[in-house]
């Protein structure tokens, strides 16, 4: 069922082991509520939402409990019917303490989600759709957590012709988007008209990697007659799910350095985000749970779960069970996922997966001794944006951060980790680059 004899893809990239077989066939299951759900006010890039409930107040599942603070912010909704226990600080994946609303569920509640004013894709104006997306609290569910309505509001003078629905899911272990496409194809198709209308784009392409042929078939079958939607199957390669790589793979366009996809007339929206829009907007509801993969060798009851936002990882791991030698837990896939420092961190809208590694997997990595760079050039062949990671690594070691940015395009690096993955000398290249990027940003901010 390949769409074309030529395999569309991007240049360079890597092939990590896929490790998806454990969970790809497992249907999405509803996850129970934790004794206390912790809803951070900042789950997205931008400004934190402003809490609009008080301690002791009763809330209904799906009810708005925090309003957006300006345009670069989204609303938050109660993940469970219950009572607001307190509003205070909770650990976040960033390592900082962030304000959050703690909600204790009512045991006897029916947990029927609240509904608001429905929005119809046919009758609503683009502005109304964009406002509704912000009101529904929707952010990029692929992991970036960028507020979706900000993306949909095109800059003045820009026009888009193609909307890419990103179902590549190129990270190993993750199968949540795969299951969403299989089980919620109708929601995805319901979401696309909202996105097309809000941005004035003409067509949508659902992009799926070839290890999910079943999802591609289901999506093709779900396309309503007359809709300008098509499905493209891409060969498996990491990091194909990165916006820039996907645009190049499908359309052959290159997003300019420092630019946005819309600069080449394109918008990318994650398939799960699209499904949530298709499900929530017609009911006027807000996002209060998301589908994610709980897996990895350190996890017992692996699976794809619909987890209420704000479920603490401690509760999640204890519910699914973990191996005694669990040594590392990270949110997202193993290539870009962030290791958690505290199990009191809650699941947020941007959590695509919770993966647990045991000493077996992490030991292999830790034992590798770092060698000097032997100039093998593997990293140059891996980098999807054609940087020179070897040279950047040398400069990083000498703390030449500004030179890395000025002469070697450091700031174009989106930290996919392919260079570190292939490096036979085990030099932590992307880790160096993260530090250097931060140093450059700090120097720039200080210079203003």
């Amino acid at each position: 069922m390949r769409s074309s004899p030529h395999s569309k893809t991007f240049a360079h990239g890597v092939h990590p082991p896929e490790c998806k077989d454990d969970t790809s066939a497992l249907p999405i299951r509803q996850f129970p509520f934790a004794p206390v759900q912790v809803v951070p006010l900042l789950q997205h890039l931008g400004k934190p939402a402003i809490a609009e409930v008080a301690e002791g107040q009763e809330v209904v599942r799906g009810q708005r409990i925090a309003r957006p603070d300006g345009f670069m912010s989204v609303a938050m909704h109660a993940p469970v019917s219950g009572v607001v226990q307190r509003i205070g600080l909770a650990p976040a994946i960033s390592g900082r303490m962030e304000p959050a609303i703690f909600v204790r569920p009512f045991p006897g509640s029916t947990q029927e989600p609240a509904q608001g004013r429905p929005v119809d894709a046919r009758t609503a104006t683009p502005e109304q759709i964009i406002a509704a997306v912000q009101e529904a609290g929707i952010v990029g569910l692929g992991g970036a957590s960028f507020p979706t309505h900000v993306k949909l509001k095109l800059p003045d003078g820009k026009r888009g012709d193609t909307l890419l629905i990103n179902g590549a899911e190129c990270e190993p272990y993750l199968t949540a988007d795969h299951r969403v496409m299989l089980e919620h194809a109708a929601d995805v198709m319901a979401g696309i008209p909202f996105l097309l209308k809000a941005t004035g784009t003409e067509r949508a392409i659902v992009c799926i990697e070839s290890n999910k042929q079943d999802a591609a078939a289901v999506m093709r079958a779900a396309i309503p007659p007359g809709q300008p939607v098509s499905v493209e199957v891409l060969p498996v390669k990491y990091p194909q799910g990165a916006e820039k790589m996907l645009i190049t793979a499908i359309l052959g366009r290159e997003v300019p350095s420092g630019g946005l996809p819309i600069d080449v007339g394109t918008l990318c929206v994650n398939v799960a985000t699209c499904a949530e829009i298709g499900q929530l907007l017609p009911r006027g509801a807000g996002i209060h749970e998301r589908v994610l993969t709980v897996g990895g060798p350190g996890i017992r009851k692996k699976g794809n779960y619909r987890v209420p936002i704000g479920t603490p990882l401690r509760f999640l791991l204890e519910s699914v069970g973990y191996e005694p030698d669990l040594t590392r837990v990270f949110l997202g896939g193993p290539m870009m996922g962030q290791a958690v420092s505290s199990l009191d961190i809650p699941v947020t809208k941007g959590t695509t997966g919770v993966i647990g590694f045991t000493a077996r997997e992490t030991g292999n990595v830790a034992e590798q001794r770092e060698h000097p760079c032997i100039r093998c050039g593997y990293c140059l062949e891996a980098c999807p944006i054609f940087l020179n990671p070897s040279m950047l690594g040398l400069l990083a070691r000498n703390e030449q951060h500004q030179r890395m940015a000025d002469d070697f395009h450091l700031m174009d690096c989106f930290e996919c980790g392919s260079c570190t993955f292939v490096c036979p000398a085990h030099i932590p290249l992307v880790q160096h680059f993260r530090i250097s990027k931060r140093a450059v940003r700090r120097a720039k901010a200080a210079g203003k």
């Binding site: 890597v14 997003v255 290539m335 870009m336 958690v340 997997e361 990595v365 032997i374 980790g417 992307v430």
Partner: protein, 343 residues
């Protein structure tokens, strides 16, 4: 709720690695060289075995000693000193006194590698640095070639091999010119099949072109050498010598002679492809290969020496920083033209 009393590691992603490593790559280069070394032992007998072991021991021992002197963990385990030693040994003429072999091996590691900061820092191929010094210091011994397949090569050792340190070796066996010098000075052409199979005189490891090709192809398939380098070197030599041969067949030997004679195969597949001393981009590798090919033919045809692969590769190594600087990859989303950056 039961308490979760685990200590979790915090590491920055990626959490998985490809499993490749420097020692893994280096070990495979050694493996690819073993058939070549085995053939050397077959063609030159015990001399070859002792020479190769001596060269490898000298390099590995020096590397280990230097690490000890610097109070650093030994880097012998990365196999790179072993490659240097084995390659260096394979470029030596059979019957070279062991004391010369030892000096060259120490120099290869000290001057070729350690003074620059060790693995990854050496601009020149250490094995060739060692050989070049020997060539300058002992020009007669380095150009005296005992014949291959000599009688009694498995039962005795030539006198020259066991010469006392700092004594001039005496060659008791039959010596003969290598195919390249036979052509250069006497205009005698060796047959291509003899050259390819290794039944000619020459350095220990350069005689059997087919086994070198086999080892090189194995590494190329496993992506442990960049195939563009040997292909560019060999194609350039073939094209250049074909033009010369076509212009005057009596004066210039044909491409098949040049491809399979001397150290070209060993140099193109195992010396020029040393990752540390070769460019990082594919285009850079191709240019580097062409440069080495042109220099080889220039030295062989118009130079004073019959063989020029060693100097061609060393000169190619010297150009690598320039090539790398001029050929920075074009970054995604930037304009096609991109100037080199001042180093």
């Amino acid at each position: 709720m039961s308490s979760f009393d685990k200590t979790l590691e915090i590491r920055s992603s990626p959490h998985i690695l490809s499993g490749n490593s420097v020692s893994h790559i280096m070990l495979h280069v050694v493996l690819a060289l073993l058939p070549v070394a085995a053939f050397a032992c077959y063609a030159f007998g015990l001399t070859a075995l002792l020479s190769l072991c001596g060269a490898t021991l000298a390099c590995v021992g020096t590397e280990h000693l230097l690490c000890r002197l610097n109070h650093k963990p030994t880097t012998v385990g990365d196999w790179s000193a072993a490659i240097t030693g084995l390659l260096y040994g394979l470029t030596l003429p059979p019957g070279l006194p062991l004391w010369m072999i030892a000096i060259g091996g120490v120099i290869a590691i000290v001057l070729g590698k350690a003074v620059f900061g060790g693995l990854g820092q050496n601009p020149f191929n250490p094995a060739l640095v060692g050989r070049a010094v020997l060539q300058a210091a002992f020009p007669v011994s380095m150009t005296t070639w005992p014949v291959a397949m000599a009688e009694g090569r498995f039962s005795g050792l030539p006198n020259s091999l066991l010469t006392l340190p700092f004594m001039t070796p005496r060659y008791d066996g039959v010596t003969a010119a290598t195919p390249l010098s036979a052509w250069k000075f006497d205009h005698q052409l060796a047959s291509t099949s003899d050259l390819a199979l290794g039944f000619t005189g020459g350095s220990l490891g350069e005689t059997c072109a087919l086994l070198i090709l086999l080892g090189g192809l194995y590494l190329a398939v496993r992506r442990m050498l960049n195939w563009r380098i040997p292909v560019a070197v060999l194609a350039t030599v073939a094209a250049f010598t074909a033009i010369l041969h076509w212009s005057d067949p009596a004066r210039y030997a044909g491409p098949q002679f040049h491809l399979f004679s001397g150290g070209l195969m060993l140099g193109a597949w195992f010396m020029a492809t040393d990752m540390v001393g070769s460019p990082m981009t594919h285009l850079g590798c191709a240019i580097y290969g062409v440069v080495i090919g042109v220099l080889t033919v220039l030295i062989r045809v118009w130079g004073g020496m019959p063989e020029g692969v060693m100097y061609a590769i060393l000169l190619g190594n010297a150009l690598v920083p320039l090539i790398d600087n001029l050929l920075q990859p074009r970054v995604y989303g930037t304009a096609r033209k991109k100037k080199g950056v001042a180093a």
